[in-house]
Symmetry: C2
Subunit: 473 residues, 2 copies
């Protein structure tokens, strides 16, 4: 049954997206311009994202810390390159009660400044290194156009900030954390993202280099979803983060940062959801199984509870919808909320010794013997759904992956259907600027793949890099 | 071995407190005035607090949500009583880049305003009720004097905000959540807190009534550590949160809020820590057991790893300190960090088939057979430490609990040693004001205990309430 509250994805993708966000009760607009309320259904996904990523960070030796939200202007001004990038979007606190502050306080848009200021105080010797710190928090960027999860004036993220005694170790960390993001997208979110290096033009302000995780949405638009930056000694010089190395000489520390945001929820929606609502990959679903009892009957209740207990005791989070809504309403609600597996236990079915199991991703209904080994059946099904969702997303990505050998190719592709466009590049920013004139297409990342041409897609000069291009959110 | 970095608790309690915070690396000052960095050791305790409380909240049907940090001035102004309480401490954001906002934005000091604005939009019928929402976030109050964890311009907390269809249900929730806080302090933090009702003068701005959880510190000073408020319909009238009740009539919703903050970490320190550093109750210790191998030996390493694996697989979080510091340094570090149980595995001891187990709370060292059932031994010991710590804190509280029957008693007690002072009260605010003149002593809460006198401790008129008084942080 088509959900009336949701515009068709193929009719109006932007409207479809916000319809899904609202219908699945993931987030809502608030009286605060450009800021959303992340509602319980949406926040539960973020909690799941946090718990899985946090566990992985800790396995790799990272610990969490909490630094202030408000950053004094003078401190912030120390690293010029960073500010120029962020200045127009920075929100400033200037008053308490009715009194003006002596100095404006920037509301955190990113925390390089405070981490460096902290490390300056706490790093003395190579024995203090590495420091592998991460922070889960809220950050602010005053965006003009906002959309739930995708671009919001306030959003949630994690920001890793690490300092190391050697360049080699810091660069290793930069790549390692990108591998974590890629693993997370592939294995947990069922999103076949691509990783590569940002061009000079597109890298993070002040970084030596930026590695990025790029997802392709159902409509062929690209989404940057996780970045890892290597800063070399630039920030530690600006903020005076020095240590005595093994040779007893003073040296500036090597610095990395890496972050992933609530934007990941936008990616889940735009890769997997459909006209019926959200579709959650099982591994990120806060509760991947719902049981819906149909008809009043002791047997129905008994089996519902038995299944629930068995599934939960095997770590498959399951809930029974025993509200007084109609079964049809409950099916629709489970569907719009994207619950991967729905178990329908009906009085009549039980007379035939059967139950019905519905997959959210394919909307298939399967009749199953009521004496099935429910734990094995459901856990196998969840694994199947997870890998099917990944494979469908990969097929979609491949169907929207193109090659361009000249500007004409590029224009033709972008005028038909955006996607990941592979094309060679000379390394000249002027060519990036020229390509951007075509519908705002930008370099997404430089990938470590075989060349597909000898010359630059734009100027025709000798090509240096294999680049993926696309239109971005 | 006495820690030189820590002033003795009996010499200078205030200095001792900040020394412990620094020596145990719980928090540090930052370049942001009045705001601290919660360092990894401190933040890990907060994560543990969060995980235990969040689990309990969810078991009771609550879900998490995330609302904006910035609150438009007009919206904030709707509930006058609330603002008058908070106005002088409110920080305002007024600019983005170099442009002034049309309207100032208050930086969240509490979120009644935004929750009510959200509920206004999402509550229509009694079928939408109750809404049992909670938020984990950062909040801001521009305090003049600040101290780590105790009073900080930015702090972390959880704020529960619930709306209900009936007064009865809302009041039940208010009491239930106070029971959760009390359970948490008694069972997890080993702090024998007292709960009771705040007087009109001391209740939360705008609340019908406030229940509070009051801890007594080692020095006899009181700490408010968790409050639960019942607001009746006052806020829902101000913010227009209405619903259609079962009789199909429009009614304003009944509203409660409840919160607990990073201040709980201050309570842990000031109840349990000593001159050697932090002492963590086992149930709140992120890693309650450390294993310290002494001397290079295959047998030492083998047994260390064997113990660690066994303990971890029984959910007793354990780590091996295999850094290249000296054993003495490692002992001191485990001690200052408050790790409840330290297992020392030495080459020489093993020759005698023994190991050494040290309790942090009593600093007792026990020689144990190396073939001990380590899981049973350690888990029993952790339980013993937990209950011993509670009992010691209870004894301390009782030794600092007094009775006053007149102002002279009150003065004598407060001039000798502050504590929980039981005394009867007529209910008149003038008497509270008069008592406050004695070293700032305030009513902590009205308790449901037998009367100890017929007349008010201050004016001698007929007594209405049994009140606990004290000096507060």
């Amino acid at each position: 049954m088509k959900n009336d509250a949701i515009t068709s994805r193929d009719v109006d993708f932007a409207k479809w997206y916000t319809d899904v966000v609202r219908a699945a009760k993931l987030a809502d607009y608030t009286s605060v311009k450009g800021c959303i309320a992340i509602e319980p259904n949406g926040y539960a996904i973020w909690e799941k994202i946090q718990s899985i990523m946090d566990k992985k960070f800790k396995e790799l030796g990272h610990v969490n810390i909490q630094l202030p939200l408000l950053i004094p202007e003078k401190l912030f001004n120390k690293e010029k390159e960073l500010i120029e990038g962020f200045a127009p979007e920075l929100i400033w606190a200037t008053e308490v009660g009715d009194k003006k502050f002596d100095e404006r306080l920037a509301i955190r848009s990113t925390s390089e400044t405070l981490f460096c200021d902290y490390y300056k105080k706490h790093v003395r010797s190579h024995k203090d290194l590495p420091k592998l710190y991460n922070q889960w928090c809220n950050v602010f960027r005053y965006e003009k156009e906002t959309r739930p999860f995708l671009r919001s004036r306030e959003f949630l993220w994690q920001e890793g900030h690490t300092v190391h005694a050697t360049e080699e170790e810091a660069i290793k960390e930069t790549y390692q954390m990108m591998d974590v993001y890629k693993w997370f997208n592939h294995e947990i979110l069922a999103i076949p993202s691509i990783t590569g290096i940002k061009t000079e033009k597109e890298k993070f302000a002040g970084a030596e280099f930026t590695i990025t995780n790029e997802d392709l949405m159902y409509n062929g638009v690209c989404l940057q979803d996780g970045t890892s930056h290597y800063f070399g000694q630039k920030f530690s010089k600006a903020y005076d983060v020095k240590f005595t190395n093994k040779e007893n000489k003073e040296e500036y520390a090597y610095y990395t940062t890496w972050g992933k945001t609530t934007r990941a929820i936008a990616a889940i929606i735009m890769v997997h959801a459909d006209d019926y609502g959200l579709v959650l990959p099982p591994r990120i679903a806060p509760k991947p199984v719902v049981i819906i009892p149909i008809g009043e009957s002791e047997e129905v209740d008994k089996l519902s509870n038995e299944f629930k207990d068995k599934l939960i005791s095997n770590d498959i989070m399951t809930y029974i919808d025993d509200s007084d809504k109609s079964p049809g309403f409950k099916f629709a609600e489970a569907e719009v909320n994207g619950i991967p597996v729905r178990i329908e236990i009906g009085k009549r079915d039980l007379e035939n010794n059967t139950i019905t199991i519905a997959r959210r991703d394919t909307r298939e209904k399967i009749t199953v013997d009521k004496d099935v080994d429910i734990v094995k059946y459901v856990s196998d099904l969840l694994e199947t759904i997870q890998s099917d969702m990944y494979n469908r997303a990969l097929e979609k990505r491949e169907s929207l992956t193109f090659e361009a050998h000249n500007l004409e190719d590029m224009e033709k592709i972008l005028n038909t259907q955006p996607g990941f466009i592979h094309a060679m590049w000379c390394g000249d920013e002027a060519c990036e600027d020229r390509i951007k004139e075509i519908k705002g297409c930008k370099s997404r990342c430089i990938v470590d793949e075989e060349k597909i041409d000898d010359k630059c897609v734009c100027c025709g000069k000798e090509a240096k890099h294999h680049v993926i291009w696309g239109i971005q959110y």
